[in-house]
């Protein structure tokens, strides 16, 4: 079961690697497992046990229910708008930050991470303060017949804020490590700006970009606090998947609530697996260099 570090891996000098005694290892692994059982396995297991409590048919019914379908549609619409916008911004910011030297770079990088330090509720609040019907700008928009807060655009904008740093954050370290030599070589060979980007930079960053977009989508689908502030909580209209889970739960419709939640658990598990696979890939790539 437990394999101590193989000694053969360090020939030719038989070097004894210092490690903890096996009983200590077993104890510490056991404690870690206990923590994971309480905080990861039981909660995730609970979702499925509750979701399937009334059998497959009820499960499918809860998911096929029109309000659930509407919630899924709204969430997917939000993702379809938010992810490309933030991905485009991420690439642009990473290009500016990693391909040029300029004063204030560190400050700009800190500012990009700002949304991570803001409570989701505050992320919703700021858009109510900016665009709500009781504010000057919001009431002007209302006169033009545009409603943002308590309607779909508000959900999109709040999600845009919350998922703002994901792509940039993935790309900046990657592009910093890659440097600018390849692009500069292309330039001296006469390539134009967009050619350099399309043929050199984009192929180099495609996995990082994809990964950033996956993280961005996962958060956009799952965001609760910010969206909860700006959504009108109208079923079939301004309800995203997490908000739908909340409504079902507060109506004591636990089985349906957990059935819808199980969709989000699948999503989380997929994200985690993709992340592990991608990281493996990155590590192999970087060790080849």
């Amino acid at each position: 079961m437990l394999k101590p570090e193989p000694l053969q891996s360090n020939p030719p000098v038989a070097r004894k690697k210092i490690s903890d005694p096996v009983p200590v290892q077993i104890l510490l692994i056991g404690l870690t497992l206990l923590f994971f059982i309480g905080f990861v396995f039981l909660p995730l297991g609970l979702v499925f046990s509750q979701a399937f409590q009334k059998g497959w048919e009820f499960y499918l019914e809860a998911i096929k229910e029109p309000y659930t379908i509407e919630a899924v549609k709204l969430t997917l619409t939000t993702v379809a708008i938010v992810v490309p916008l933030n991905a485009f911004f991420g690439v642009s910011a990473a290009w500016a930050i990693t391909k040029f030297s300029f004063p204030g770079k560190a400050a700009l990088k800190t500012l990009l991470d700002l949304p991570f330090a803001v409570s989701p509720v505050i992320a919703g609040l700021i858009f109510v303060l900016l665009l709500g019907s009781r504010t000057p700008f919001g009431s002007w928009l209302g006169e033009q017949g545009i409603k943002i807060i308590f309607s779909t655009p508000g959900i999109v904008i709040a999600t845009l804020f919350v998922t703002f740093p994901f792509v940039a954050r993935e790309l900046i370290p990657l592009m910093e490590a890659q440097g600018r030599d390849e692009e500069e070589a292309a330039l001296t060979l006469g390539a134009r700006g967009w050619q350099i980007f399309g043929k050199i930079t984009l192929p180099n960053i495609r996995w990082g970009l994809l990964y950033g977009m996956i993280l961005c989508s996962a958060r956009a689908i799952g965001e609760f606090g910010a969206v909860s502030v700006v959504s009108g909580h109208i079923r079939g209209q301004t309800n995203t998947i997490p908000l739908h889970v909340e409504i079902l739960y507060s109506e004591y419709n636990f089985t349906a609530s957990f059935a819808v939640a199980s969709l989000l658990v699948f999503l989380a598990l997929t994200t985690v697996i993709v992340k592990a696979v991608m990281e493996n890939r990155f590590q192999k790539n970087s060790s080849q260099h």
Binding site: I18, L28, S92, G222, A268
Partner: protein, 277 residues
Amino acid sequence: MAIFQKKRRNILPGFGLSMGYTVFYLSAVVIVPLSMIFFNAIPMGWEPFLSAVTAPRVLASYKLSFSTAFFAALFDAVAGLLTAWVLVRYRFPGRAVLDALVDIPFALPTAVAGICFATLYSPIGWLGDITTKWNIEVINSPTGIVIALIFIGFPFVVRTLQPVLEELEPEIEESAHCLGATRMQTFRKILLPHLFPALLTGSTLAFARGIGEYGSVIFIAGNLPMKTEIAPLMIMSKLDQYDYNGASAVALVLLVISFSMILLLNAVQEWQQNEYR
């Protein structure tokens, strides 16, 4: 080489375009909306601002948010160190799975985590059974909030510790061993001080995240006034009453505290790095 790099000029195209768009988008999506907090809180004047943020219910919510986030971060420091150590140092079946699952709190929507813990510790839940037997109050109590926040903050500690542990040179421990130190002494006097900056960073991130956390907490907290109302919930209820200034005032205090904590952390890290050089 270093000299050349310093003299290197920006020859690639697209600086104006990419920088311009970056600054524009950053301002439109983040800076301008965030500044609304100041524009709503500052015209209130000092007295009303102070009375809004020192109202007993608001003060109680601050106290609750900070204390629960603190205890959760403390627990995360221990559990995170243990997990990172086990994942980096030991080889056992299922290690890769555990390693991947560390990110679950990042990937799982907070509302789902919220209903999971609320159901798990409800009197008929799998763990609620045990806690009621031992007379531990979890549901509708600060303990429940701490449990939710432990879950949310845990990956911050593990993911900041892992790279540091991986890069630790075995020579350090070997020399300690040769000089006659026991394993425990090596851990306490050599490894722990070395890991401390990362441990502090990870738990501060967990703490900062815990102060603002909403979705995973409100289900288990029960939201009883003066008892289990967290600060973000106070913002929410002020918003429901259209008290925009009051909501901004409560939010401003939270923002200032979390920003200054992160700035302080950056300063500490910079100081640490200079110290090592």
